[in-house]
Amino acid sequence: MIAHGRRNDPGTWSVGGTERLRDAAWRALTTVKDPEIPVIDVVELGIVRGIEVGSGPDGPYVEVTITPTFSACPALHEIERNVTVAIAALGVEPRVRTTLSPPWSTDDMTDEARTKLRQFGIAPPGRHDGLLEIALDAPVRCPRCDHPDTRVRNAFGSTLCREIRTCSACEETFERFKPL
């Protein structure tokens, strides 16, 4: 059932120290994809706020702190479950906690994630440094033909994080990940 990570004797982690476990946990999290955008993982998405490694009554544990993208995003529950499975596969006790602060922003997304989004057919959000309204109205390139002249068809789309646009050049209708 567990596709990634190998089961380890919890005792082996104490030999290599917590750094090694922490690194393994970060790597394990790159196998957890966004259920709604399966090409990007939760680390690239920027929703992992921290990893804490410690020793509990049942041996070593890894506590992963994640933050929701949109507060009503239904994918969060599935992400929590998948994070738990990925960490458990390391042979340690998984703990997941969520935080709302600081609130997630699309600026937390890596450049790599943006490239993957574009290749997936979703126009990535531009960096906004807090100037959200300006980023929302900035030109958006068509993910298919790269033309900058695209227009909003609907400010809301199939998920809370997307809007629907049409390219004036190739007439393709596509989704854009909204800056947040």
Partner: protein
């Protein structure tokens, strides 16, 4: 920042009451708007309003969650297993969805209220409340952009859309004033820094609303009266009807906790 552990019992109780009222308002408004899902005038607007409804329900979950940290209550219990008399929602969000003008104007007025209340709450001395408000505040930007455009379309569109907008505003104006009335216990929360700048809230909301309505050629007349104290315990017919529908599935099978 005052950590939550420093809240004394009275303040904590007042905060739980306020969080419940705020959660109930978001939940019931979200539910009312979700009644349009599958019935929107065009597909795009159906999707847009459903998105807005989902956001508001998500915000209700956040407010209930902050309350849960205070008293251990559970969001699902609060939403699905309370009787109408235990809800603290305002009449404003309970009113039936009406026509498209009523739905859009109500959501717009609520968005204006949140555009003023959330930045204040984001400065709350109660950190979990401040964090949740900061989160909701960003998402509300999408709401106001959307409903603000609709107010213009409706107000400046056709004679019919204009008249329907005026009728909708008239029908909800008094309830809008009551939405902004202080809750029992607010005074203590203001004193504890949990509700910063709260006394300036209604005037700021009305100024925002008035400017947007004027640009849409809509004149609601005088500002609505804000009662000195909110009466949230009164069970309206609309509340009973709404909860009857919203809670039907959960009550039919109390054992079903996941799907």
């Amino acid at each position: 920042m005052t950590p939550q552990t420093e809240l004394d019992a009275q303040v904590s109780q007042a905060l739980a009451y306020r969080l419940t009222a705020m959660g109930d308002d978001e939940l019931l408004l979200g539910h009312r708007n979700s009644e349009w899902t599958g019935h929107g005038p065009v597909l795009e607007e159906d999707i847009a309003l459903s998105n807005l409804a989902q956001d508001e329900i998500g915000h209700a979950v956040m407010w209930y969650g902050v309350r849960g940290e205070l008293d251990g209550s559970d969001a699902d219990d609060l939403a699905f297993r309370r009787d109408p008399a235990q809800f603290l929602s305002s009449t404003f969000v309970e009113l039936p969805r009406g026509d498209w003008a009523f739905t859009m104007l109500r959501q717009f007025l609520f968005d204006c209220y949140e555009a003023e209340s959330l930045p204040r709450l984001a400065r709350s001395a109660h950190r979990p409340l401040a964090d949740a408000a900061a989160k909701a505040q960003r998402e509300e930007l999408f709401h106001l952009r959307h409903t603000g455009l609709w107010v213009k379309r409706l107000g400046l569109g056709t004679d019919e859309s204009h008249h329907r907008s005026v009728a909708a505003l008239t029908a909800m104006w008094e309830a809008f004033g009551a939405l902004l009335a202080p809750l029992p216990g607010d005074e203590q929360l203001v004193g504890a820094g949990v509700l910063p700048d709260w006394s300036t809230l209604p005037a700021a909301v009305f100024a925002r609303v008035r400017a947007a309505l004027a640009a849409a050629d809509l004149d609601p007349g005088e500002d609505p009266v804000v009662p000195p104290l909110a009466q949230r315990n009164t069970v309206s017919e609309a509340r009973t009807e709404l909860l009857g529908t919203m809670q039907a599935v959960a009550r039919a099978d109390p054992e079903a906790v996941t799907w």
